[in-house]
Amino acid sequence: MTRGTAVALACPSCSAPVVAGDLFCEACGHELPPTGVACPGCGAFQAVDGYCAACGLRQPAPRDHVELALPGIGVVTDKGHRHHHNEDSFAVAVADGVVLGVVCDGVSMSTRSDEASQTAVDAALAVLTQGGADGDLEAAFDAAQAAVLHVPVEPHPEKGPPSCTFLAGVVTDAAVRLALLGDCRAYWVGTGGDARQLTEDESWAAIEVRAGRLTAEEARGHPLAGTITRWLAVDADPAWRPALVSFTPPGPGHLLLVSDGLWAYTDEPADLVAAMGERTDAPLTIAQRLVTHALAGGGHDNITVLVTVLPLVATEPGSPPAIASAATPPPPSLATAPEPAGDTAP
């Protein structure tokens, strides 16, 4: 799903109004480009390299804002207010009794990091789906790192090679297994509103706080607060391995996988729970609320929120896994599947 802007379309030849999808102008017969997608800035029909061929305006990219609902799952990713591309990405698979989720945050001070995060989530999910509930998180991490190396490196005076962080989860009703490199976070929110962060940020600020050199408050305001210490890239240290976390869900609740574009505005678990709103709502609704909360707070970074409801929604035994990512939405039959509303939520 892409957030589009309603625009008046005009024939590039005679300026008569035309309808998106028309092949010819009704007024003058001018041939219209087959896509019929008009520039939101000037209404022209042609785009090259993602920019309008007439006024130069960058055309809305599909990944600027993506929303996705699968049974028991809601995901929203948004480019935020300050960044000009969404360099976050996610991939998710729902199979019988297991949810596999990957969230990667492209590093903004590197080139093509949107491609890095996308190829990383795709590669990791491909490995995880082979194992299902036994999905190998370390092998998924290795596949993601290998995939990032295939993103072409553009020489740039200030920016580094394509890079992203990594967070992957294998979720069943009995166990949550996580692998983390960088500063995405996993949270558990129980039915009573008890929330806890399951991962430890691999960032400069978090290290300083853990070492007692900075308070959490000082770290938040620090210019280096967003600096991560580990990432996937051609310049990643081979010794960097993902931190593995196992967690036994104490009962029904929500598992959240989020990028730092969210938690910058919900650093205290209580803030997070408050921003989720009514937790019996559909997971997509909760994800939307959280993203809206981050945008209202300033939206300084790309924001990704993946909400999984536990217990998991039962799917047809033996049915193939439903797979989707920020770049590849699920088939319409899945995307429009009825939301597992209040009956499955805690």
């Binding site: 920019y51 130069g56 305006l57 207010h81 000009h84 020489p155």
Partner: protein, 425 residues
């Protein structure tokens, strides 16, 4: 031939800003060699006016240099030698009206004729260029380069005649120009080379002629592809403020643009050798977008035979984050400085000639400071022959009382040469 282009810019603009600057570095694939079908044609146009005989070392050096250069022209290359005074004639082929193909016989004949060049008459450079144009004209697809040598002022014709001939020669051939000694006019030869995409330089003493002729030949024969253009697309409502080559030397291309299609101008850059790299500073003014909006301000690519290569994007992103919009791109800053350096030298020398010592001191001092700070050591050395440098960092200088005309002309001639950004460790 393939070219790669990279853009260096700060794409972030404050709200309401229109001016976008970028440096685009273009490099030709090092493996590029001329296609077998690409002919190469060179013309040596040598001043044989009467002054070349005073002192006779000049004409003697010219004979030797022409002979040595001609002897090295490879088989198959088209060539001719023009002798120029207030009129022009083909010295080789003698009295001819067409280029000849180099082989053992033609080379030997040309070497023999070079030894018999005799000085007489005045100087009307347009006649030399006109003859070169007629010789080159029947070879539209070839790489066509001329080398023009003079020792004096273009005194036998009106300036307008030269200008008209240069307009006719544009797009027909490229021309390097050399002034030997100190009796020629830098500005006249710069007009020739700026119009014909060549470089101007000084040959201080006749004995340097030989090497310079051969260096030209090496440069000319190294070219692999002819008639390359820099294509600049800018969006509707935008205006290309300037397109300037900034490395290896400053050359303003803005007024040379020709229509290249919708919203597109093509700026001629001449012939390129494999591995050659040049930098261009492009400035575009675009209608400002809202904060958070991103526009493509320009798309820059090299065009050969109407085919555009990989394009480089110049972006504009409007932001209210001052930390982003106030960042200065090192490449853009560097070449803005190198352009100011050339202007400061030019203005300083003009002021010095006009007797305005205060202004000359200020401008040449500024030039010293920029050249020093940017690591342009060649220009620092040339400046130091015209001014006494007390403190290069601050540009504190004193005009020298006695300055050799040759030193002043060398500074003037080479003032547009730039250095590239020094890589920081």
């Amino acid at each position: 031939m393939s070219f790669t282009a990279s853009t260096y810019q700060n794409e972030y603009l404050p709200a309401g800003a229109e001016e976008v600057h970028a440096v685009v570095t273009v490099t030709a694939d090092a493996a590029t060699v001329a296609a077998a079908a690409t002919a190469k044609a060179v013309v040596l146009a040598v001043d044989t006016s009467g002054s070349m005989g005073h002192p006779p070392t000049k004409i003697q050096a010219a004979r030797k240099a022409v002979a040595a250069a001609v002897a090295e022209i490879p088989d198959g290359t088209l060539f001719a030698v023009i002798v120029g005074s207030h009129e022009a004639a083909c010295a080789y082929p003698w009295g001819g009206d067409a280029l000849v193909v180099a082989d053992d016989r033609t080379r030997a004949e040309a070497v023999e004729i070079a030894g018999r060049l005799e000085p007489s008459g005045g100087t009307a450079i347009s006649t030399w260029l006109r003859l070169a144009r007629f010789l080159f004209d029947p070879h539209p697809g070839a790489i066509k380069l001329a080398y023009l040598l003079t020792d004096g002022k273009n005194e036998s014709e009106q300036r307008s005649v030269l200008e008209a001939e240069l307009r006719a020669c544009t797009d027909v051939f490229q021309c390097d120009a050399r002034g030997v000694g100190d009796a020629w006019v830098v500005e006249e030869l710069r007009l020739v080379t700026s119009s014909l995409l060549g470089e101007v330089d000084i040959i201080a003493t006749p004995d340097e002629m030989d090497d310079d002729f051969r260096a030209f030949l090496t440069r000319a024969l190294g070219k692999a592809v002819a008639d390359v253009s820099l294509r600049v697309w800018a969006p509707q409502g935008a205006a290309v403020q300037f397109v300037r080559q900034v490395a290896p030397a400053i050359e303003d291309l803005t007024t040379k643009g020709v229509d290249g299609g919708p919203l597109t101008r093509d700026f001629p850059t001449g012939a390129w050798a494999g591995g050659e790299s040049r930098d261009y500073h492009v400035s575009v003014s675009v209608p400002p977008g809202a904060v958070g909006e991103e526009k493509l301000a320009a798309r820059v690519a090299l065009v050969v035979d109407g085919q555009a290569g990989q394009s480089s994007l110049v972006r504009a992103i409007w932001t209210d984050d001052e930390a982003l919009s106030t960042r200065i791109n090192p490449q853009v800053a560097h070449y803005t400085g190198q352009t100011e350096l050339a202007d400061a030298i030019h203005e300083g020398l003009e002021a010095r000639k006009a007797g305005d010592e205060a202004r000359a001191t200020i401008r040449l001092g500024r030039a010293v400071a920029i050249a020093h700070a940017s690591g342009n050591e060649g220009t620092v050395r040339l400046l130091a022959k015209v001014v006494e440098v007390d403190d290069p960092a601050s540009g504190t200088v004193r005009l020298r009382r006695e300055v050799a005309a040759l030193d002043e002309m060398a500074l003037d001639t080479r003032s547009t040469r730039t250095v590239r950004v020094t890589k920081k460790g």
